[in-house]
Each structure stands twice: as C-alpha cells, then as structure tokens.
Amino acid sequence: MTSEYSPSDRPSASHLRLLKRLTEAVSVSGNEGEVRAIVREQVEPYADELQVDALGNLLVMRKGRSPNRLRVMLAAHMDEVGLMITAIDSDSTLRFEPVGWIDTAQLPGKPVWIGKERLPGVVGAPPIHLFTPGDLTRRVEITEMRIEIGAQSKEEAQRKVKLGEQVAFASKFTHLGSTIRAKALDDRLGVATLIEIVQHMPPEIDLLAAFTVQEEVGLRGAQVAAYRMEPDLAIVVDCTPARDLPTWDGEENMQYNTRLGEGPAIYVADRMTIGDPRLLRLLIQTAEQEGIPHQLRQPGGGGTDAGAIHLSRSGVPSISLSVPARYAHSPAGFASIADWRATVCLLYATLRRLKPSILKRP
C-alpha cells in the first residue's frame, strides 16, 4: 500500500496543522523535548525501531521490502536558535547570551518566551522618542541588552526564572496565502518532511530517520547519530536562507543564496560539505524527470548536519536539500508552501530511485 503513495504538491489541512504545532513548539538547542514529543507521536506507529539516544536524537528505523536495499539516513534537526538566561540583575531584569547564530541587532523590542512555562518577556529597547543622535547609528551589544518580565524585584524575578533557562521567540504560526510565517522554520520544515517520509516510506530502501539535536550549536547530534546508524548514504533536509530581495542600490543581486518560489535548494557545496556528485546528479535528474521545481543553492558558506554525517567513520556519501526561507534565525521566517511541498515530492521520488548501483564507481 505504501508504494502507491505519492506526496501531494499542495498542502492539506493536516499538513498545516502539523507545521503550526511544530513551529510553535519551543526547542532551543539542548532542550528539544517539545518537538521530540510531537515527532514521536507522529512516527511511533510506523517505526520498526525507535530510540532516543544519549544526546536526545530521536532515531527511527523502518525496513523496506525490495531486495538489495541501501541503508539511507535522512536527517533533520529539531532544535532552533534562541537565548539563555545568564544572570538576574538587581533591577529584576535578565541578562542573556545567544544559543546558536543570531543577529543580535534584531533582538531589541522582540517578545520572547522564557523556560518551559513560556513566561512572557520582552527584550528591552530604548524608545525612539528618547534617542540621542548617536543612538541611531550605534550598534547595541548583547551585553547591554536585558529581558524584562515585569517583576517588581530581583527576588520576584528569581522566583520566576532560573539561570540557564532558555528563551525562544514568541511567535505564532501564520498562514498567508501561498506562504507561511513562523519562527523555527529552520528546521521544522525538515522535521515535517521527515515525518511524512517515515509515515509513507518508499519500499526501495531501509530508512534511518534521524531527528537530530544541537545542530545550531555545531552539528553535535548528527555526529553521534551517524556513528550509531552507519548508513550507506545520507540526505539532510534543512531550511536555508533566501536573500532574494532587490538590492538597496538597484544593482544585480549576485548573492541571494536561494530564491523563494523556485523549489527546493540542492547543495553542491557549502563551507562544511561537498555534496556527493552521484547524489547531486540523482537529485537533479529526478527533479527534471518528475517535473519538480528545484534550484541549486549558491555554493559557498553555511553548513548542515551533512558536515558531521559525511565524515562519520569511513565517510558517508551525503547531500543536503533545503527549503528556502527569508529572514532565517529571526522571530518571523517566510517560506513558500509550494517550495516545501516540492521538497517532500523531490525527496520521496529520489528515495524511490535509490539502488545500490548509485554508489558504484566506474
């Protein structure tokens, strides 16, 4: 029955409900429990084996039915960037440090959720009414910023917040016609993709799905997940920035990374990985033959879980595939629903074509 499945290029209501749950869940690196619980609920009925490893990765194994199956690792990371409370000041405000890569200039004025209880707070900022001329051009350092939670005293703040608690952007999922707006699209879009693949798995492979932790702080979960899984090859599904808006001076935009609406971004090379050329060819061929929109991500910087996976043990042929999103690592990312659906379609069609001969060298 599963072999009859073919993913739809249009989103269903249940797709959007799942994306809403996943993006509104809070899972800053190191504390991925909320997303893990959703993933577990979604995939457990389908898994032949399921385990949570020492770091918190959720690892799912599902056996295929065809003879001579490759062991294919798919990875998507459950964590998101955020902040961590590092001190409570005598005036009851909270100091913090970034967890993962955040443009701190984006922080002032943003509402946040603190800790498991989602205590509401705001990153304080001076009102523009009271700006001195110098304030407009000066970059505010993170050490000058504070989170306010409306506590009247240091003691009250200490009762409500503990040092080391994590902070997430307080953003609700919004469906805006052909796009969605949410925090943590990086990489809940990948997580949603993998959930769907586990549920409707192609019979041609043995599926090793890794929902990883701590990607945003250095691909840590993926490293140990790959060591345990020992796959024949790996495909990482992530979310990559689209910087495709016009330039301020009207010059040609030559560093857009990806463009919204042009389909999943296939990686030739980023800073940490050179995509396996055989898998690169297969992804492009599959997209062309199936008529699935796709684009090549501009080679250059960045990195995905593939950076750790491809160096595991004797090496793992690996490639990454990303859904493009504008305003990554901010409270409000923008992604095209069609790009996400095309990502699921391309991944599924590619998995169906994976045979051991793909790894033969001439």
């Binding site: 030559m254 050329p277 090549l296 250059g300 160096l311 004797s314 090496g315 060298r361």
Partner: protein, 343 residues
C-alpha cells in the same frame, strides 16, 4: 618521474572531483599492489603485504584548490567562491580551467577595487561570452588554475604540487617497491584542501598503527624576515609540528635515524601555522603514531608552486628505506610504562 609529475599536476582535480587523478593513480599502480579499494568518500587505498607486521598508512592527497561558480551575471561573467585556501592576490590575470576544455580568465571589477584590495565579490571569470546565454559554465561547476607544468631543471613549477607531489612520490615508491615486513596502506585521499576530510575518513577505514603523510611545507628562503629554517634543495623535511599536530617523537627519531644511516640529507620541519580547526589524523579511533615527510615548496597555494626535484627524489629514497625496516620504535619505553603501571 618528471613525466609522471607533469601528468598529475596538469590533470583536473578540485576537492570532491578527484576522479581524473584517481584514474591516473589506479592505472599506474595496479600491477604493483595486492589490491585496491575506493573509500565512500572517493579516496583510493592500495594494499601491499596484507597482514604484515605493522599496519603502516602512507598518505598523500589528490585534490587541489579551486573555485566554484555561484552565479552567472547579466553580462555573462561567472561569479564564484573559493574552494580551499585561495589567495585572491594570485587571481588577477590568471587562467581558470573547467572540464570539457573550457577555459576563462579572472577579471576584477575595477570600480569597486580602486580604493581597497578587491574582495571575492569583485572578481569574476570572463569566458569571452557575449551574455548570460553563451556563458559555458553553470552554478556548481568547479574550476582549477590553468597552468602548464614548468621544468626548470632542478626546480619544478606547477599548480597543485601541494598534494600531487606527494601522490607522485608514493606512486614512485610503489613502482620501486622493496621487500617489506609491513602491511603498507597507500592512501591517495580526497578533499584535503577543504579540511583534510578524506584523510581522516581513510584513516578510520584503514585503522593503521603508524602513518606518514607526504605533503609540502613552507620555506623561509625567499625572505630575510621569515624565520623558517626549511629551504629548497636540502632534502625532504621531517615534520616536528604544525599548529594541528605534534608528530610522534619516536617516529621522528626513527625517520631521522634511517636518513642518517643511508646518507639521505634531511631537514626538520617546524611550521608555526596551519588551520587549527581541521581534524587531525593522529586522533583517529584510539590514536595513530603519525608523522609527515614534507617537501619544501615556495609559493604554496598559488598557480606556481615550486619544489626542488632533488628533494623529491630523496623523499622517495627515504620512504623506501623506511618501509624496508622494522618499525619497533618506542617499544622499550612503552614496556617500561607498562611495568611501572603494574608495580
């Protein structure tokens, strides 16, 4: 050996696209080795005397620095990103080659670079195309320096010598292979220039006890200010340390003793630089006794790397002498350590 070096350095092999080099190596060495395997990453492993006394890995990397196309602009110029440690200063006026005999030249947007040194975004590749449609390359294509091999007699000049001279040396060792008590694991590795990715995965796969890399090292003989003792023409250099690694002192001493006994001139290589964030083969699995024979080279990571041919020949001779002999170095000291632990 010079014709082999020419063939290797003129071939195309940026990181992740080493197929042409691997084919050259496999064709040349196949007859002289017991078996050949290709790692999942694409490194070529050749085995001699499997099951021998010590598992000795001898490694050189096949790849070279290059560029990768990131955008074709409206005028038909190709924009690019570096692959490996590319010095932008070396690009102006330089040719760049792609598979299928496609060649272009690097240009710089002069308007932008008049004030400050040009940045990567100011550079482009001009293929003589009329516009975007006639540009012969596409996003994701890898290019390498277009530079023929120069034989200056004692000195050799080429692109890609940084890895390929090691490849040539190991191939020559295989051609002249002596009787050896050891299992020799020749590893021609991939993706060194982007962070030693093929070397570490090969080391895991081969699980050697002892390893020797053959690479190039910087010299101090072109500047009175650079305090580097290594010079061209005074023999291969035994690496003591760089920023990544302290070589196994027992292996250093062993290589020096062999050189002294056989009258091979050598230098000591103390390189106070190098990337520190890239993995080190020494730390593979439970650890490997690791060392390096460095070929002194000027103008590294440029299209005109220069080595001295005598250093190359002597490195071959030194390696042949090393693999002939037992490698029980350090055993006495290690026994002492064991005993002291017991008592």
């Amino acid at each position: 050996m010079k014709s082999l070096i020419r063939k290797l350095v003129e071939a195309y092999g940026p990181p992740g696209r080493e197929d042409a080099i691997r084919d050259i190596v496999a064709d040349e060495i196949r007859e002289n080795v017991q078996s050949i395997e290709i790692s999942p990453m694409g490194s070529l492993h050749a085995f001699v005397n499997k099951g021998g006394k010590r598992r000795v890995m001898l490694a050189a990397h096949m790849d070279e620095i290059g560029i990768i196309i990131s955008h074709i602009d409206q005028r038909g110029f190709a924009r690019f990103q570096p692959v490996g440690n590319v010095d932008l200063e070396t690009l102006r006026g330089q040719g760049v080659r792609f598979p299928g005999d496609i060649v272009g030249v690097f240009g710089v947007d002069l308007e932008r670079s008049r004030e400050k040194p040009p940045r990567i975004g100011d550079f482009f590749i001009d293929f003589g195309a009329d516009g975007k449609q006639s540009c012969p390359v596409d996003i994701g294509d890898f290019g390498v320096f277009d530079r023929p091999f120069l034989d200056l007699g004692r000195r050799l000049v080429a692109k890609s010598l940084g890895g390929r001279i090691g490849v040539a040396i190991l191939m020559e060792v295989i051609r002249q292979l002596p009787e050896t008590p050891h299992e020799l694991q020749f590893a021609f590795t991939v993706q060194e220039e982007v962070g030693r990715r093929g070397g570490t995965t090969s080391a895991y796969m081969l699980d050697p006890e002892i390893g020797i890399a053959v690479e190039v090292t910087a010299t101090g003989d072109t500047s009175s200010k650079r305090k580097l003792a290594v010079v061209l023409g005074k023999g291969p250099a035994i690496k003591v340390w760089d920023s990544r690694m302290l070589s196994d002192p027992y292996l250093i001493r062993h290589m020096a003793i062999v050189a002294n006994e056989t009258g091979i001139a050598y230098q000591m290589d103390v390189l106070q630089s190098g990337d520190t964030d890239i993995p080190c083969i020494q730390l593979t699995r439970a650890g490997v006794s690791w060392g390096c024979i460095s070929i002194p080279a000027r103008y590294r990571h440029t299209p005109s790397e220069m080595v001295d041919y005598r250093d190359v020949e002597e490195a071959v001779r030194l390696l042949l002498e090393i693999i002939k002999r037992p490698m029980d170095f350090g055993e006495e000291d290690k026994d002492q350590v064991k005993q002291s632990r017991v008592s």
